[in-house]
Protein backbone atom coordinates (compact mmCIF):
# COMPACT_ATOMS: atom_id res chain seq x y z
CA UNK A 1 0.00 0.00 0.00
CA UNK A 2 0.95 3.61 -0.26
CA UNK A 3 1.97 6.01 2.47
CA UNK A 4 2.28 9.72 1.88
CA UNK A 5 4.58 11.80 4.03
CA UNK A 6 4.33 15.58 4.21
CA UNK A 7 7.33 17.32 5.69
CA UNK A 8 6.98 20.96 6.64
CA UNK A 9 9.11 23.43 8.52
CA UNK A 10 8.11 23.85 12.13
CA UNK A 11 5.87 26.88 12.57
CA UNK A 12 8.60 28.78 14.41
CA UNK A 13 11.09 28.33 11.61
CA UNK A 14 11.20 31.03 8.98
CA UNK A 15 10.33 29.70 5.54
CA UNK A 16 12.13 31.92 3.03
CA UNK A 17 10.87 29.97 0.04
CA UNK A 18 7.27 30.23 1.11
CA UNK A 19 7.69 33.89 1.84
CA UNK A 20 9.25 34.62 -1.53
CA UNK A 21 6.52 32.74 -3.33
CA UNK A 22 3.92 34.74 -1.40
CA UNK A 23 5.72 37.97 -2.30
CA UNK A 24 5.97 36.96 -5.92
CA UNK A 25 2.26 36.19 -5.94
CA UNK A 26 1.44 39.54 -4.46
CA UNK A 27 3.54 41.23 -7.10
CA UNK A 28 1.65 39.30 -9.74
CA UNK A 29 -1.60 40.58 -8.32
CA UNK A 30 -2.68 37.56 -6.31
CA UNK A 31 -3.66 39.44 -3.19
CA UNK A 32 -6.06 36.61 -2.38
CA UNK A 33 -3.14 34.43 -1.32
CA UNK A 34 -2.28 35.55 2.18
CA UNK A 35 0.53 33.22 3.01
CA UNK A 36 2.47 30.31 1.55
CA UNK A 37 4.43 27.61 3.31
CA UNK A 38 6.50 25.16 1.38
CA UNK A 39 7.31 21.60 2.28
CA UNK A 40 8.34 18.27 0.86
CA UNK A 41 6.14 15.43 -0.13
CA UNK A 42 6.99 11.74 -0.46
CA UNK A 43 5.04 8.82 -1.77
CA UNK A 44 6.21 5.51 -0.39
CA UNK A 45 5.18 2.23 -2.00
CA UNK A 46 5.09 -0.28 0.80
CA UNK A 47 4.93 -4.04 0.73
CA UNK A 48 2.63 -4.27 3.72
CA UNK A 49 -1.14 -4.26 3.36
CA UNK A 50 -1.73 -3.37 7.01
CA UNK A 51 -2.56 0.35 7.49
CA UNK A 52 -1.19 0.42 11.02
CA UNK A 53 2.04 -1.24 9.96
CA UNK A 54 2.32 1.07 6.97
CA UNK A 55 1.91 4.08 9.17
CA UNK A 56 4.49 2.87 11.63
CA UNK A 57 7.00 2.13 8.91
CA UNK A 58 6.46 5.49 7.25
CA UNK A 59 6.94 7.24 10.58
CA UNK A 60 10.17 5.41 11.20
CA UNK A 61 11.48 6.31 7.77
CA UNK A 62 10.42 9.91 8.20
CA UNK A 63 12.21 10.10 11.53
CA UNK A 64 15.35 8.54 10.18
CA UNK A 65 15.66 10.05 6.79
CA UNK A 66 12.95 12.19 5.35
CA UNK A 67 12.61 14.92 7.93
CA UNK A 68 15.23 16.94 9.72
CA UNK A 69 13.89 16.88 13.30
CA UNK A 70 15.67 20.09 14.23
CA UNK A 71 13.58 22.24 11.97
CA UNK A 72 10.91 20.07 10.39
CA UNK A 73 7.85 18.14 11.38
CA UNK A 74 5.84 15.69 9.34
CA UNK A 75 2.42 14.22 8.84
CA UNK A 76 1.51 10.83 7.38
CA UNK A 77 -1.45 9.61 5.35
CA UNK A 78 -2.01 6.03 4.40
CA UNK A 79 -4.30 4.63 1.74
Amino acid sequence: MRARVFVTLKPSVFDPQGKTIADALHTLGYGGVQDVRQGKYFELDLVTTEPAQARALAAEVADKLLANPVIESYRIEVD
Binding site: T20, A24, V70
Partner: protein, 211 residues
Amino acid sequence: MKFAIVVFPGSNCDHDAYHAARDVLGQNADYVWHKDTDLKGADVVILPGGFAHGDYLRCGAMARFSPIMREVQAKFQCEHVHIRVEQTDTPFTLACRRGQVLRIPIAHGEGNYFAEPEVIARLEANRQIVFRYTNAAGAVVDDANPNGSAAAIAGLCNETRNVVGLMPHPERACEPVLGSADGLLIFESAVAALKTGVLGGSTRSALEAVG
Protein backbone atom coordinates in the same frame (compact mmCIF):
# COMPACT_ATOMS: atom_id res chain seq x y z
CA MET B 1 50.43 11.51 12.92
CA LYS B 2 47.83 10.01 10.67
CA PHE B 3 44.83 11.49 8.92
CA ALA B 4 41.97 9.34 7.69
CA ILE B 5 39.73 10.80 5.01
CA VAL B 6 36.41 9.05 4.86
CA VAL B 7 35.15 8.56 1.32
CA PHE B 8 31.43 8.37 0.75
CA PRO B 9 30.28 7.42 -2.71
CA GLY B 10 29.45 11.01 -3.56
CA SER B 11 32.22 12.79 -1.65
CA ASN B 12 33.87 15.34 -3.84
CA CYS B 13 36.28 17.09 -1.51
CA ASP B 14 38.06 13.92 -0.40
CA HIS B 15 40.97 14.38 -2.81
CA ASP B 16 41.36 17.97 -1.67
CA ALA B 17 41.56 17.05 2.01
CA TYR B 18 43.99 14.27 1.20
CA HIS B 19 46.17 16.63 -0.81
CA ALA B 20 46.18 19.19 2.01
CA ALA B 21 47.07 16.65 4.68
CA ARG B 22 49.61 14.67 2.74
CA ASP B 23 51.15 16.86 0.07
CA VAL B 24 50.97 20.23 1.77
CA LEU B 25 51.38 19.24 5.41
CA GLY B 26 53.56 16.24 4.73
CA GLN B 27 51.50 14.04 7.07
CA ASN B 28 50.51 10.46 6.73
CA ALA B 29 47.05 10.28 5.17
CA ASP B 30 44.80 7.54 3.95
CA TYR B 31 41.39 7.24 2.40
CA VAL B 32 38.87 5.12 4.26
CA TRP B 33 35.90 3.76 2.32
CA HIS B 34 32.62 4.48 4.06
CA LYS B 35 31.75 0.81 4.20
CA ASP B 36 35.01 -0.05 5.97
CA THR B 37 34.94 -0.63 9.70
CA ASP B 38 38.55 0.15 10.46
CA LEU B 39 39.99 3.63 10.70
CA LYS B 40 43.47 2.23 10.20
CA GLY B 41 44.80 3.80 13.36
CA ALA B 42 44.12 7.35 12.36
CA ASP B 43 44.56 10.17 14.84
CA VAL B 44 42.44 12.62 12.92
CA VAL B 45 39.41 11.71 10.90
CA ILE B 46 38.24 14.05 8.18
CA LEU B 47 34.73 13.82 6.85
CA PRO B 48 35.15 15.77 3.64
CA GLY B 49 32.59 17.97 2.01
CA GLY B 50 30.60 17.16 -1.03
CA PHE B 51 27.41 15.33 -1.68
CA ALA B 52 28.10 12.24 0.35
CA HIS B 53 25.04 10.28 -0.64
CA GLY B 54 23.80 12.49 -3.39
CA ASP B 55 22.35 14.76 -0.71
CA TYR B 56 19.12 14.94 -2.59
CA LEU B 57 17.13 15.07 0.56
CA ARG B 58 18.46 18.02 2.41
CA CYS B 59 21.05 19.82 0.39
CA GLY B 60 20.14 21.23 -2.94
CA ALA B 61 17.40 18.74 -3.57
CA MET B 62 14.63 21.12 -4.15
CA ALA B 63 16.07 23.89 -6.21
CA ARG B 64 15.46 21.86 -9.22
CA PHE B 65 12.37 22.14 -11.20
CA SER B 66 9.96 24.95 -11.32
CA PRO B 67 11.20 28.40 -12.16
CA ILE B 68 10.01 29.98 -8.96
CA MET B 69 11.84 27.41 -6.95
CA ARG B 70 15.00 28.65 -8.46
CA GLU B 71 13.94 32.16 -7.76
CA VAL B 72 13.69 31.51 -4.08
CA GLN B 73 16.27 28.88 -3.48
CA ALA B 74 19.36 30.02 -1.72
CA LYS B 75 21.73 29.73 -4.65
CA PHE B 76 24.87 27.69 -4.48
CA GLN B 77 27.68 30.11 -3.83
CA CYS B 78 31.39 29.72 -4.15
CA GLU B 79 33.77 32.47 -3.03
CA HIS B 80 36.23 33.49 -0.36
CA VAL B 81 34.75 34.66 2.95
CA HIS B 82 36.20 35.67 6.31
CA ILE B 83 35.71 33.68 9.48
CA ARG B 84 36.79 34.62 12.98
CA VAL B 85 38.25 32.10 15.36
CA GLU B 86 36.11 32.12 18.50
CA GLN B 87 37.68 29.25 20.41
CA THR B 88 41.26 28.07 20.40
CA ASP B 89 40.94 25.09 22.71
CA THR B 90 39.92 22.60 20.08
CA PRO B 91 42.35 20.38 18.21
CA PHE B 92 41.58 22.25 15.05
CA THR B 93 42.10 25.81 16.25
CA LEU B 94 44.99 25.39 18.61
CA ALA B 95 47.41 27.14 16.30
CA CYS B 96 45.12 30.12 15.84
CA ARG B 97 44.79 33.24 17.89
CA ARG B 98 41.44 33.95 19.43
CA GLY B 99 39.75 36.58 17.27
CA GLN B 100 42.02 35.80 14.34
CA VAL B 101 40.32 36.33 10.99
CA LEU B 102 40.89 33.65 8.35
CA ARG B 103 40.14 34.00 4.64
CA ILE B 104 38.67 30.73 3.45
CA PRO B 105 36.33 29.74 0.61
CA ILE B 106 32.77 28.62 1.03
CA ALA B 107 31.01 26.41 -1.49
CA HIS B 108 27.51 25.40 -0.61
CA GLY B 109 23.85 25.71 -1.42
CA GLU B 110 21.98 25.48 1.83
CA GLY B 111 24.80 26.49 4.08
CA ASN B 112 22.96 28.33 6.77
CA TYR B 113 23.10 26.80 10.21
CA PHE B 114 19.82 26.92 12.02
CA ALA B 115 18.89 26.19 15.63
CA GLU B 116 16.32 27.41 18.12
CA PRO B 117 17.49 30.34 20.27
CA GLU B 118 17.78 28.08 23.36
CA VAL B 119 20.15 25.83 21.48
CA ILE B 120 22.26 28.74 20.35
CA ALA B 121 22.38 30.04 23.91
CA ARG B 122 23.58 26.65 25.11
CA LEU B 123 26.25 26.48 22.38
CA GLU B 124 27.33 29.92 23.40
CA ALA B 125 27.48 29.04 27.07
CA ASN B 126 29.48 25.89 26.38
CA ARG B 127 31.81 27.82 24.10
CA GLN B 128 30.99 25.45 21.25
CA ILE B 129 30.84 28.11 18.56
CA VAL B 130 34.29 27.80 17.02
CA PHE B 131 34.01 30.04 13.94
CA ARG B 132 31.82 32.98 12.97
CA TYR B 133 31.41 34.76 9.66
CA THR B 134 32.80 38.28 9.87
CA ASN B 135 34.10 40.96 7.58
CA ALA B 136 37.81 41.29 6.90
CA ALA B 137 38.17 43.38 10.04
CA GLY B 138 36.63 40.67 12.18
CA ALA B 139 33.28 42.32 12.81
CA VAL B 140 30.07 40.29 12.75
CA VAL B 141 27.92 42.19 10.26
CA ASP B 142 24.99 41.05 8.14
CA ASP B 143 26.78 41.72 4.88
CA ALA B 144 29.53 39.32 5.82
CA ASN B 145 27.21 36.43 6.59
CA PRO B 146 27.02 34.71 3.24
CA ASN B 147 24.08 32.45 3.96
CA GLY B 148 22.06 33.91 6.79
CA SER B 149 23.48 31.43 9.25
CA ALA B 150 22.05 31.81 12.75
CA ALA B 151 24.33 33.83 15.05
CA ALA B 152 26.76 34.00 12.10
CA ILE B 153 27.88 30.49 12.97
CA ALA B 154 30.42 29.04 10.54
CA GLY B 155 31.70 26.18 12.69
CA LEU B 156 30.89 24.31 15.87
CA CYS B 157 32.45 21.71 18.13
CA ASN B 158 30.88 18.99 20.23
CA GLU B 159 30.81 19.16 24.01
CA THR B 160 33.99 17.16 24.37
CA ARG B 161 35.56 19.56 21.88
CA ASN B 162 37.29 16.93 19.79
CA VAL B 163 34.87 17.07 16.86
CA VAL B 164 34.71 20.26 14.85
CA GLY B 165 32.28 20.79 11.99
CA LEU B 166 32.56 23.76 9.71
CA MET B 167 30.91 25.06 6.60
CA PRO B 168 33.87 26.73 4.82
CA HIS B 169 36.51 24.59 3.14
CA PRO B 170 39.92 24.94 4.82
CA GLU B 171 41.37 22.30 2.50
CA ARG B 172 40.92 24.79 -0.34
CA ALA B 173 42.98 27.43 1.40
CA CYS B 174 46.23 25.63 2.15
CA GLU B 175 48.49 27.08 -0.52
CA PRO B 176 49.20 30.70 -1.48
CA VAL B 177 48.78 29.91 -5.19
CA LEU B 178 45.15 29.15 -4.47
CA GLY B 179 44.59 32.62 -3.06
CA SER B 180 44.94 31.88 0.66
CA ALA B 181 46.87 29.60 2.97
CA ASP B 182 44.84 30.43 6.05
CA GLY B 183 43.19 27.01 6.09
CA LEU B 184 46.52 25.47 6.83
CA LEU B 185 46.22 26.73 10.41
CA ILE B 186 43.37 24.31 10.95
CA PHE B 187 45.38 21.34 9.75
CA GLU B 188 48.48 22.50 11.60
CA SER B 189 46.43 22.78 14.74
CA ALA B 190 45.56 19.12 14.50
CA VAL B 191 49.20 18.19 14.09
CA ALA B 192 50.19 20.37 17.03
CA ALA B 193 47.36 19.00 19.15
CA LEU B 194 48.70 15.53 18.76
CA LYS B 195 52.31 16.46 19.35
CA THR B 196 51.57 18.44 22.47
CA GLY B 197 49.25 15.78 23.75
CA VAL B 198 46.42 18.19 24.27
CA LEU B 199 44.12 15.40 23.29
CA GLY B 200 45.59 12.98 25.74
CA GLY B 201 47.14 11.08 22.89
CA SER B 202 44.55 8.43 22.35
CA THR B 203 41.50 10.56 21.77
CA ARG B 204 40.64 10.61 18.17
CA SER B 205 39.45 13.88 16.76
CA ALA B 206 37.36 14.55 13.73
CA LEU B 207 37.01 17.42 11.35
CA GLU B 208 33.75 17.50 9.54
CA ALA B 209 33.27 19.63 6.50
CA VAL B 210 29.63 20.39 6.22
CA GLY B 211 29.81 22.41 3.05
